[in-house]
């Protein structure tokens, strides 16, 4: 059972690399949705887990939310904004690969510092910290506003991975509250993207630098 969860975590880490590599917006949205779904599944198949009702509800909600609703909403936004498919990044492909490897090393260093490599949690920490750093890196390096929303989603996935894996079970209400917050955050970002597109008829955030000292 637990080598299946190892397998899931490795797949999530691989998805991060694919995300760095891809420059097609539609593919990126699909990949992030897949990563969210995997996250939902992970909490079900985690070792030493007595399947309580709350975990099942939580994982199904995350599965539905991240797997289906967010991509649908983002596709709708993509259609409304009708921007070009391929996106140019602030940081070139080779350097971003190098940085993601660096992030991997940093997460291993952090995890090594905290837990003995033998425990399962060592691997969880690496995966979640690595995904968080990749999420941050995507926000920093991408130009299009939608890509930044995707970066934010990857960041959320990393953090959720940490909570699901560590089986920290807060009461149902709190879990739902967190998911609701993420949902509303993405929703409001989407609305703002509509306005940015209407106002500036482009959504390159690096051009949005009118407010400076």
């Amino acid at each position: 059972m637990n080598n299946f969860s190892y397998f899931l975590m490795i797949v999530i880490m691989l998805i991060n690399f694919i995300l760095i590599a891809s420059n097609n917006l539609r593919n990126c949205i699909k990949i992030v949705a897949f990563q969210g779904a995997l996250n939902g599944l992970l909490s079900l198949f985690f070792p030493g887990e007595n399947l309580t009702l709350t975990t099942i509800i939580i994982s199904t909600i995350t599965f539905l939310l991240k797997g289906l609703f967010f991509p649908m909403f983002l596709f709708y936004a993509l259609k409304k904004v009708a921007i070009g498919k391929e996106i140019k990044h602030l940081i070139g492909y080779k350097t971003s690969l190098l940085i993601s490897l660096l992030a991997l090393v940093l997460s291993f260093f952090l995890a090594y510092h905290l837990f003995a490599p033998s425990q399962i949690s060592f691997f969880i920490i690496t995966a979640s910290v690595f995904t968080t750093f990749i999420g941050l890196f995507i926000i920093i390096s991408r130009v299009k506003a939608i890509m930044q929303v995707l970066g934010y989603l990857v960041l959320e996935n990393g953090i959720a991975l940490f909570s699901f894996a560590f089986l920290i079970h807060q009461p149902l209400l709190v879990e739902i509250g967190i998911l609701l917050d993420v949902f509303v955050a993405v929703f409001v970002m989407g609305i703002t993207i509509f306005y940015i597109n209407k106002e500036f008829d482009h959504i390159n955030t690096h051009k949005l630098s009118q407010l400076k000292d």
Partner: protein, 631 residues
């Protein structure tokens, strides 16, 4: 003490009268309050009993403790003497403009100064110190034009910097609830306090604001500022010396060196100015330098345990504080009267005012004569005792005292040159430019008359002030024996004897003159121009040409000569100009400002507007914290 409280109540009452416009009540409450203040101070001076009030004040650090000892009584007398005089002068000077700004902030300034002088608790002191500065700001920017706003701003920045030094000073000085306590001499505390107080007093490195702020304010306000408010800085330094009761000798040397510098800066920059009130402001810096010399000598006397030297130097300090307030006030009021009558600021365009305004010129002459320390007037007493103290110091073997001796003599001579030429250029000779003369309202002249009378009184009969000095000396040297005090008392008497002889001889000579010249024929002709009869008023000597020989000697430091372009055979028209050259602003303040603005330009680069970089900053701080504190 109750009298003092009543006077404070009356002052605040006058503040409230600002709401409804009639001036009578405002003036009446001001005068009544000052009389009460003077009565309280004299009562305390005679027998210092029940002069403390101590109320626990629900503030984390402060409690409301006031005490009037000899030193504060002297300053209370100073404040309460000048407040009503300048208020009455101000009424007619500003021809009853009903601007509220003055009626509110003038009494507020007086109240806060009284509290500064009486406060025995750090918190109360800082509170009144700050209110005093703010009230001073609103009085300086009374005219509300661009120039006064700029100088008011520089004034506020200077007081704020002073405040920054006073905060740690009072925290180190007071125990946990900031009450003043006697401490052993600790140089750090002295330095903090000295810098904090000297920014208010206008001592050498921090004097930049004074020549800008005082000329801009209305004359009676600038008289109050340079006569009384600067002395609050001096009061602070004196109070600090009493509190740190074993002063180290090095403090004395610092005071003397800074005193010499500020006096030199003051007098030389005054020599190159054009406007009367800026000249008077710079000469206040010079007089503050002289007072600092005297304070330096007191510190040396106290640390080397020479009671005679301390007594003489202390008499010099207190005499000069009181006298400077008197004659500086008189001169500023005179300057106000001149600018009101002629509406001209540049003194090189004035001239021949004596014929039209004889009374004003007489009063201004008394002010000038006491400013240049002429024997019959009160400026002389302060400088006499300072020279005497430095001579006594030399006699007793402390050879550092030669510096105050020589520098004071040099400065007194320069001040003599400055004010003799200023008086004669404004009042004597021909009118250098045609200006319409308006009448000066009589209350202004009456006030100036009272102050001039006080100047001559303290000048000719200096022993009148001796009881005050005696009380102050006991404060500084608690266990001094009367004999040493006696010596300076006899000098005072001898001085007044020689002055009376001077007066007698003058009277006899004038009588003889009257007898001889009674029936002599008088012929009126034009001034002798060695044969050239078309002499014009412009050919007279004006202020910068009068100063030219000395300016030529000190050209590199303080004066900037307009370059001569007498090139061709028959040179056309040529003019000669001395412009002030302030090396402190050129080499210290301006570069400092440019550097600060440069750094601020660089820091602005951080806020460049791109979201990606902002998040990169967050990422960086996260990584930095993990590395720094992660272990």
């Amino acid at each position: 003490m109750i009298l003092m409280l009543f006077s404070l109540v009356f002052f605040s009452l006058s503040m409230l009268t600002a709401l409804f416009t009639n001036k009578k009540i405002w003036l009446f409450s001001m005068v009544a309050a000052s009389f009460l203040g003077i009565a309280a101070a004299t009562k305390i001076l005679i027998n210092p009993i029940n002069n403390t009030i101590n109320i626990p004040w629900h503030i984390p650090l402060g409690n409301f403790s006031i005490e009037i000892d000899a030193l504060s009584a002297i300053f209370i007398l100073l404040i309460c003497l000048f407040a009503p005089l300048y208020a009455i002068y101000g009424q007619s000077y500003l021809n009853h403009s009903d601007k509220k700004q003055l009626t509110i902030f003038y009494p507020l300034l007086i109240i806060s100064m009284l509290f500064v002088v009486m406060a025995k608790n750090g918190f109360l002191f800082l509170l009144s110190w700050e209110i005093m500065s703010i009230a001073g700001y609103f009085l300086i920017t009374f005219e509300d034009d661009e120039h006064s706003l700029k100088s008011g701003f520089i004034y506020l920045v200077a007081t704020n910097i002073g405040m920054l030094f006073l905060l740690p000073f009072f925290l180190l000085l007071g125990n946990n609830n900031l009450d003043f306590q006697c401490l052993s001499g600790n140089s750090l505390i002295f330095l903090l306090g000295f810098i904090g107080f000297s920014t208010k007093a206008g001592v050498f490195p921090f004097h930049g604001w004074l020549p800008k702020a005082h000329p801009v304010a209305p004359s009676h306000v600038s008289a109050l500022l340079s006569g009384v408010m600067i002395k609050m800085g001096i009061y602070g330094i004196l109070r600090m010396i009493i509190l740190l009761n074993e002063p180290q000798i090095i403090w004395g040397y610092i005071c003397i060196v800074l005193g010499v510098f500020s006096a030199l800066i003051g007098i030389f920059s005054a020599l190159s100015q054009k406007e009367l009130k800026t000249i008077l402001a710079y000469s206040s810096i010079e007089n503050i330098g002289i007072i600092l010399l005297a304070i330096g000598l007191t510190i040396i006397g106290k640390s080397k345990d020479l009671p005679i030297l301390t007594i003489l130097a202390l008499t010099a300090t207190i005499f000069h504080i009181i006298n400077h307030a008197l004659f500086k006030g008189l001169l500023f009021l005179g300057a106000g009267a001149i600018s009101k009558a002629t509406q001209i600021k540049n003194i090189n365009l004035l001239g021949g005012l004596h014929k039209k305004l004889p009374l004003l010129s007489g009063l201004f002459l008394i002010g000038v004569m006491s400013m240049t320390a002429m024997p019959l007037f009160n400026g002389f007493i302060g400088e006499f005792f300072l020279l005497l103290a430095s001579l006594k110091g030399l006699l007793l073997g402390d050879f550092f005292a030669i510096i105050p001796l020589l520098s004071l003599c040099f400065i007194a001579a320069l001040c003599f040159m400055l004010f003799s030429s200023v008086y004669s250029i404004i009042f004597l000779g021909e009118e250098r430019s045609s200006f319409k003369l308006s009448k000066i309202p009589s209350p202004m002249l009456r006030i100036m008359g009272i102050i001039a009378l006080l100047c001559t009184l303290f000048g000719t009969l200096p022993f009148v002030l001796f009881p005050i000095i005696k009380k102050a000396v006991f404060l500084f040297l608690p266990n001094v024996d009367i004999a040493t005090l006696q010596e300076s008392k006899t000098t005072l008497y001898k001085l007044s004897i020689s002055f009376s002889i001077f007066f007698l001889v003058l009277m006899t000579l004038l009588l003889i003159r009257h007898q001889i010249l009674k029936n002599r024929k008088i012929v009126i002709t034009s001034t002798w121009g060695c044969g050239y009869d078309k002499i014009t008023a412009k050919m007279q000597y004006n202020f910068s040409s009068f100063v030219q020989p000395i300016a030529f000697l000190f050209q590199k430091f303080f004066f900037h000569f307009s370059n001569h372009n007498l090139k061709d055979l028959f040179p056309k028209e040529e003019n000669f100009l001395i412009t002030p050259f302030d090396f402190l602003t050129k080499y210290f303040y301006k570069p400092l400002m440019e550097k600060l603005l440069l750094i601020s330009e660089k820091t602005k680069k951080i806020q460049h507007g791109r979201t990606q970089f902002y998040i990169f900053y967050i990422f960086l701080t996260l990584v930095f914290l993990l590395l720094w504190k992660g272990q």
